[in-house]
Symmetry: C2
Subunit: 307 residues, 2 copies
C-alpha cells in the first residue's frame, strides 16, 4: 500500500511539536499539503483555507484537523464531504451533537473518522488497564492540577464559552479514566469560574459506576510549583498510581512500568490502522463527561483571573 | 399475549394526570404495583421503595420511572438488573453518560429501554415532519415561552443544578425539532441564570445543520399572558407553524391539521410495541443538545427569581 497522502489544517505549536515528527517517522504517511491562516511547513505546499487546499490538491487522502475545537466542525464537514479520512485533535468538537453528525457523515461517505485522545496512548496506560482488570477496585482519585499561566499563556480561546477552561487538560484525564475504569457517570460537580471568564478554572467531580465504584476527580489550573497529573486507585492488590499523565505506573509505591513517551506516534499508527481497516474510531465518552459536568455542575464564582 | 404487568415508581402529578388514564385505557398493560415515598394508587399494592416492590412482586414485567431525573438512574439500574423493561419519563437522566450506561445494561439483559419524549407524540408533529420532508427549508425559529410560576409553582428541584431550569420545557421543543428537522448542532448560546438560582430561566440558542440550515430557539420562563410553544419554518412551500406544542399545524396562516391531544396514550402504545419487538428506543439527541448548550453557552446573570 502506498503512503496515505496527508494534509494538516491549523499549523500551530502542537503540530510542530508533535504531529510533524510523528508523521515524518511513519512510512504510512506522506505530508503533501497544509492549510493555515499563518503557519506553514518547510517544503510543503501551503494554503490559507481548507477549501483552497482541497480544490488545488485532489490527491489528498486524509486530513488532520488541529485548530481550536470551535472551528473544527466546518473543516471536518468539508473534508468528509470531499471523501477524505479525518483525524480530529482532541476534543473532537465544540459540541457532542456535531461529533455525532460527523460520525454519520463519515459512515455515509465510507471514510474513516478518528477522534484522537492522545493521553490514552501514554506509555503506562495499558499496563494500568491490565492491572485494574485483574483486581477489585475500591475507589479511584484523579488529581489533575497544573499552572495555566505556564501551559497556556495568553491563549484567549481557552477562556471563551466553549473553550472548556480547565477541562482542556482535564479531558486528558477523562480520556484515560474512560479507558481503564468501568463506565462511570457523574453524580455531582462543582465548577469554579473566575468572575471575569466564561470557562471554569477548577472542577471537582464525583462519579460512580453502576455497581457503585466511587471516583473523585479534581481539576485545577491554579497549581504553581509541582504539577500533578495522577490517577490513584485503591484496589485489593494495593494502591496503584498512574503518574505524570500516564507515563509511569507504581503499585504500593514501587515502580512497575515506565517507558519513553510516544503518544503522537501511537496516534498516527492508530490512524493508519483504522484507514486500512476501513472503520472509524470515535469514542465521545470523555467529552460526554465534560458536557455532563457543565449540565449537572453547580457554578461557583472565584477571583478574577489575569494572565 | 397477556398484558404487560406494569409498576410505576414516583407517583406524582404527571402520573395521576397522564400515566394512569393511559394505562387504564390500554389493554396491553396491567398496573400491578407502585413504589413512591408518598403517593399511592387506589386498589394497587403500594410500596415505599423500588427494592421492596421488586422483592415483593416478582411478576412485574416492566416499570415506568416518573421521579425527578436526578434520582432516576439508580431505580433504572435496579429494574434493568432485575430483568424488567423500563419506561423513562423525559428527560431520560441527569447525565448523558448514565443514559448510555442504561442502554448498554438493557442490551446485556435482553430487555427494552424506552426514553420517552411525550411532545414528539403531539397530534400535528407527524404532519409537520411530512410537510418539511417534501419542501426545502430556509430557516426555522422555535419560540417556547411560558410562565414558570404557573406551570412549576414552588418546585425547588427544577432550580437546582441538574434540574435543567428552562430546558425542562425547552427539551420538549428540542424533542420535536430533532424529529422533524435535519440533524443540527449548536453554534452559539446564551443562558440567563437568576442570580439566586443554579439553573437558567431563559436560553437563546443558535443551531445549524451540516448543510447550513439556520435554526434559532428562544426559551423563556418569564412569559406572562399568552404562552408560546411554536415552531415556525420558512420553506419554499410557505411558512409552516407548528402551534401550541405540536397540537396544530398551519401553512401560510391556514390551519392544515388539528387533532385531539393524546401524547401519553401514544407513548404507552409505543412502549408496548418495543417490548413486543424486543428492542429499545433511546434517542438522546434532545438531552445532548441541552448538555451542549450548558457546555458551549455563555452565562449571563439576571434578576433573582422568587416563586
Amino acid at each position: 500500500m502506498s503512503p496515505i497522502k496527508l494534509a494538516i489544517v491549523g499549523v500551530g505549536k502542537i503540530v510542530r511539536d508533535q504531529h510533524l515528527p510523528s508523521i515524518a517517522n511513519n512510512p504510512d504517511f506522506e505530508l503533501i499539503a497544509t492549510a493555515s491562516r499563518h503557519g506553514t511547513v518547510d517544503g510543503v505546499p501551503a494554503f490559507t483555507t481548507i477549501e483552497a487546499m482541497l480544490d488545488a490538491v485532489p490527491a489528498i487522502d486524509a486530513v488532520s484537523l488541529c485548530m481550536p475545537p470551535q472551528y473544527r466542525y466546518e473543516a471536518a464537514y468539508k473534508a468528509l464531504s470531499a471523501g477524505k479520512h479525518v483525524f480530529l485533535e482532541k476534543p473532537p468538537g465544540a459540541t457532542l451533537s456535531e461529533v455525532a453528525d460527523l460520525e454519520n457523515l463519515a459512515k455515509a461517505k465510507g471514510v474513516s473518522l478518528f477522534a484522537s485522545w492522545h493521553s490514552r496512548y501514554a506509555p503506562a496506560v495499558e499496563a494500568a488497564k491490565t492491572f485494574l482488570a485483574n483486581t477489585n477496585i475500591q475507589s479511584a482519585h484523579v488529581i489533575w492540577k497544573e499552572d495555566v499561566r505556564h501551559w497556556h499563556p495568553n491563549q484567549e480561546w481557552i477562556w471563551q464559552a466553549g473553550g472548556l477552561g480547565v477541562f482542556d487538560p482535564g479531558i486528558n484525564a477523562l480520556s484515560i479514566v474512560t479507558h481503564i475504569l468501568p463506565p462511570l457517570f457523574l453524580t455531582g460537580a462543582t465548577l469554579e469560574f473566575p468572575e471575569n471568564r466564561d470557562s471554569p478554572i477548577a472542577a471537582d467531580l464525583h462519579f460512580k459506576s453502576g455497581a457503585g465504584l466511587p471516583v473523585h476527580a479534581e481539576f485545577d489550573w491554579r497549581q504553581t510549583g509541582k504539577q500533578s497529573w495522577d490517577i490513584v486507585a485503591e484496589t485489593d492488590a494495593g494502591q496503584m498510581v498512574l503518574i505524570e499523565g500516564g507515563s509511569k505506573l507504581s503499585v504500593n509505591g514501587e515502580l512497575k512500568f515506565s517507558a519513553p513517551e510516544a503518544e503522537y506516534p501511537s496516534l498516527y499508527r492508530r490512524f493508519a490502522e483504522i484507514v486500512k481497516a476501513d472503520v472509524s474510531d470515535v469514542d465521545v465518552s470523555p467529552l460526554r463527561h465534560v458536557a455532563d459536568a457543565f449540565m449537572l455542575g453547580k457554578r461557583k464564582f472565584v477571583d478574577a483571573f489575569y494572565d
